[in-house]
């Protein structure tokens, strides 16, 4: 049965790049490759960097905590495999910058792959058997962070905070980036686990209202979720809301605007207006952590792109090098020109394929020249003709061209007067620019330069 739920709920602005999800949307979640070595970054999240808890040459077990920190906004890291610590040192990472990492060599004789727990969850899961403290502690100890991309420690989000009471829990199943299908697959395959996680998050945060938002290009996911909620008798208090398919609908600020018609203050976060937004994968991780006491050591990653022999959705240990995952999928052929960690709109192109997967990596996109398109391949920028398309698509109602040109001319005060800090770096402006100007790129540079000037980050 096909349902055609077209939703009008959305934000103003945005664009609609080709979805390209056909490549992997029907591929069931598959077990990833057996790893020889993993590299666990000590800062896979926003907030303080972890201190290593293990030494060189020390034996570690799977699910053992290997890094932690006393700070409030942080999340511990765990080893996904049994093995030995080979090295602890600085590793450059295209997404996280230069950061410390623990490299663990797998024990070849003593490693069984971890399988998802999704089938163990039942429909009549009852979150009331766990106390708020239990849930929060389990989430903290499991090192769960927002798995949609930003990596904000989940415990900080769901923990009750008397100053900022929360009233609505939003579960984000939009997945608006092209190519990515990992959240879609877990919504179909891990439905019960996600719902268990949602109940736990709702209990912990004390939210009275729960909404699951899914883009209307995933009718199957909407249906599966609705059916599961009906069977478990939760359809009254957990509502599935289809939202319009538009990029960046999955951005939490845009999602909140779409379903609740509220604006998160510029530079602020959803808890300021009583909201918690969790990705569906994060909800699933919460369930696993609370019920089975398992830390976040594995996740589903989509590997997609024309040049990939076996595109699909793979259940892989965090820390596996991109290279191994790509080889498992048939390797990168000569046709490919870019390997992107993340989707094509916000992802980061990497040249060093030994880079490890982190908790926030949802997709590895391998793009060919054809997929990139001539304009972005040649990267020839022409003059801005002030056509105003970037203003039309900006979901944050900024004037991107003004900010970009201010940064280009090194006028950071002007960039600030056009609210550079309000940019969410979604890339819509660069995507639509007829002059092919890297508008988002300039804004990112401007933000970095400003942060350096204000001594927020070291040179």
């Amino acid at each position: 049965m096909k349902i055609h739920t077209k939703s009008k709920l959305t934000f103003s602005g945005g664009t609609h790049p080709p979805e390209e999800k056909e490549l992997t949307r029907d591929s069931e979640i598959e077990q990833g490759p057996a790893v020889k070595q993993v590299s666990i970054m000590l800062s896979q999240h926003l907030g303080a960097v972890c201190e290593p808890l293990v030494g060189k040459n020390e034996q570690v077990k799977a699910e053992q905590k290997i890094g932690d920190c006393d700070a409030f906004v942080t999340a511990p890291v765990h080893s996904p495999i049994n093995g030995k610590v080979k090295a602890i040192g600085l590793q450059s990472h295209a997404v996280l910058g230069r950061s410390h990492a623990i490299i663990i060599e797998a024990d070849p004789n003593n490693n069984t792959p971890k399988y998802p727990n999704a089938d163990k969850f039942t429909e009549d899961f009852d979150a009331e058997q766990y106390s708020v403290g239990q849930i929060c502690d389990a989430v903290r100890e499991a090192g769960i962070v927002g798995m949609g991309g930003a990596g904000f420690p989940t415990r900080v989000k769901i923990e009750p905070n008397p100053r900022l009471p929360k009233e609505t829990l939003i579960i984000n199943g939009c997945e608006c980036e092209p190519y990515i299908t990992c959240d879609y697959r877990i919504m179909l395959e891990w439905t019960r686990q996600i719902i268990a996680g949602i109940k736990l998050a709702r209990k912990a945060s004390g939210c009275s209202r729960t909404i699951i938002a899914i883009e209307d290009n995933k009718p199957e996911a909407i249906e599966v979720m609705n059916e599961a909620l009906e069977r478990s008798g939760d359809s009254d208090n957990i509502r599935v809301v289809p939202v319009k398919t538009k990029y960046p609908q999955g951005g939490e600020r845009q999602l909140i605007k779409a379903i609740l018609d509220k604006n998160v203050p510029t530079g602020g976060i959803p808890p300021m207006i009583g909201l918690v937004v969790l990705n569906v994968a994060t909800a699933a991780a919460i369930a696993e952590a609370v019920v089975y006491n398992q830390p976040l050591t594995h996740r589903v990653v989509t590997v997609s792109g024309e040049a990939i022999a076996r595109p699909g959705n793979y259940y892989v240990p965090i820390g596996i090098p991109v290279e191994e995952l790509l080889e498992f999928c048939g390797g990168v052929t000569q046709k490919s020109t870019k390997v992107v960690v993340g989707g094509p709109m916000m992802g980061i192109a990497i040249a060093d394929l030994t880079m490890p997967i982190t908790k926030t990596t949802g997709v590895i996109t391998v793009l060919t020249k054809r997929q990139i398109g001539r304009a972005k391949y040649e990267r020839r920028q022409t003059a801005c003709i002030r056509c105003g398309r970037c203003l039309e698509v900006c979901p944050e109602h900024l004037i991107p061209t003004k900010i970009a040109h201010a940064v280009k001319n090194n006028l950071l005060d002007v960039a600030e007067s056009y609210y550079i800090s309000g940019c969410i770096e979604c890339g819509c402006c660069s995507y639509v620019c007829p002059a092919n100007i890297e508008v988002t790129g300039y804004i990112k540079i401007g933000k970095l330069t400003l942060a350096k000037q204000k001594k927020k980050i070291p040179e």
Binding site: T266, G268, T337, I348, G373, I385, G422
Partner: protein
């Protein structure tokens, strides 16, 4: 494993859409007006349009050569400037004057500012203004459309001195304001101005052709509706005020709409994105300013037509409008 992977900042894909496609769209939008010009003014149209286009393109090419800059002809903006300049000139302008106008448009109107995107004023209007102040007589001699029997001009029986030329409807309107003509004679020309069978600049006579082109651009979303709408509404409203105060002296508002360069300006000249404000609010102010200035010049000013100066004046205040029409982010101003 592959070693020549590219890295660059996100996004890694883009819409199949370029400056060139914007300009080609504008050229397509101008086709009906060019066709109408060809129908009414025959060889004048062909000669004038091709002269302006060719000399604009050559000038841009030479300027790039002198400035040692990359060739920018591929964006077709010089072609657009050439066509708009040609359409805003009287049909009988000699080839040499058209060349001077085109060279001035591109070289002084655009390239000295740094090329496309950097110019403050609409290049075609800069060239036209130069021709107007330099060769006033040439710029106010109007040819009768070829569809009208030259010996029997419909518009005015007074054209006895030179049967091949005649005054424009706006010139009549001006004379009516000064009390030299009956306003009824002016209002009678309304029908002719809609079809375009009147004297006037090459591309501005046919209101229908301009409307078709303008609608095409709006449907293609090459231009926003804000500026054309603001120009038209404000001009009609302002002309309406004059008409209401003294209908014996001032022409009907719709007459102002269909005659002269108002529609050409509303759809093709004022909408030049480079010289217009960025935000919709700014566009409304900009368009309203142009509409009001056009009518002011037509009724109170010395010239019968005011499009060119209205556009240039509003171009000059565009940066100011932009500054006063900043957007506030969706989440409100950040607390610093």
């Amino acid at each position: 494993m592959l070693r020549d992977l590219r890295i660059s900042c996100s996004p890694h894909i883009s819409e199949r859409f370029s400056t060139r496609s914007v300009m080609i769209d504008v050229i397509i939008g101008l086709v009906p007006a060019m066709a109408a010009a060809g129908y009414y003014f025959r060889s004048y149209a062909l000669i004038l349009i091709s002269t302006c286009v060719i000399s604009s393109v050559v000038t841009e090419w030479l300027c790039n050569l002198i400035r040692k800059k990359e060739n920018s002809l591929g964006d077709f903006s010089a072609v657009v400037t050439g066509i708009i300049l040609a359409l805003s000139l009287p049909p009988s302008v000699p080839v040499w004057a058209a060349i001077i106008g085109s060279v001035f448009s591109i070289a002084i109107g655009k390239m000295v500012f740094g090329g496309l995107g950097a110019n403050v004023f609409n290049p075609a209007m800069v060239g036209r203004a130069f021709l107007t102040v330099s060769f006033g007589a040439l710029m106010t001699t109007w040819t009768v459309p070829a569809t009208i029997d030259a010996t029997m001009p419909k518009i005015s029986a007074e054209n006895t001195i030179d049967a091949r030329t005649q005054a424009t409807p706006l010139a009549f309107s001006k004379e009516a304001i000064k009390g030299k003509k009956e306003i009824a004679a002016v209002n009678e020309q309304l029908k002719s101005t809609i079809a375009g069978e009147v004297g006037g600049c090459l591309g501005e006579t046919s209101a229908v052709a301009l409307l078709i082109g303008g609608l095409y651009l709006m449907i293609r979303r090459t231009i926003n509706f804000h500026i054309p709408f603001a120009v038209i509404v404000s001009a009609v409203a302002f002309a309406g005020i004059f008409y209401l105060t003294d209908s014996d002296k001032y022409a009907q508002p719709v007459f102002h709409l269909t005659s002269g360069g108002l529609l050409l300006c509303a759809f093709f000249i004022a909408t030049d994105p480079v010289t217009a404000p960025l935000t919709p609010k700014g566009m409304w102010i900009f368009g309203t300013g142009i509409g009001v200035l056009i009518i002011l010049i037509r009724t109170i000013g010395e010239y019968p037509e005011g499009v060119m100066y209205a556009v240039l004046l509003m171009n000059a205040v565009t940066p100011l409008i932009d500054r006063f029409c900043k957007w506030v982010p969706a989440g409100g101003k950040p607390h610093v």
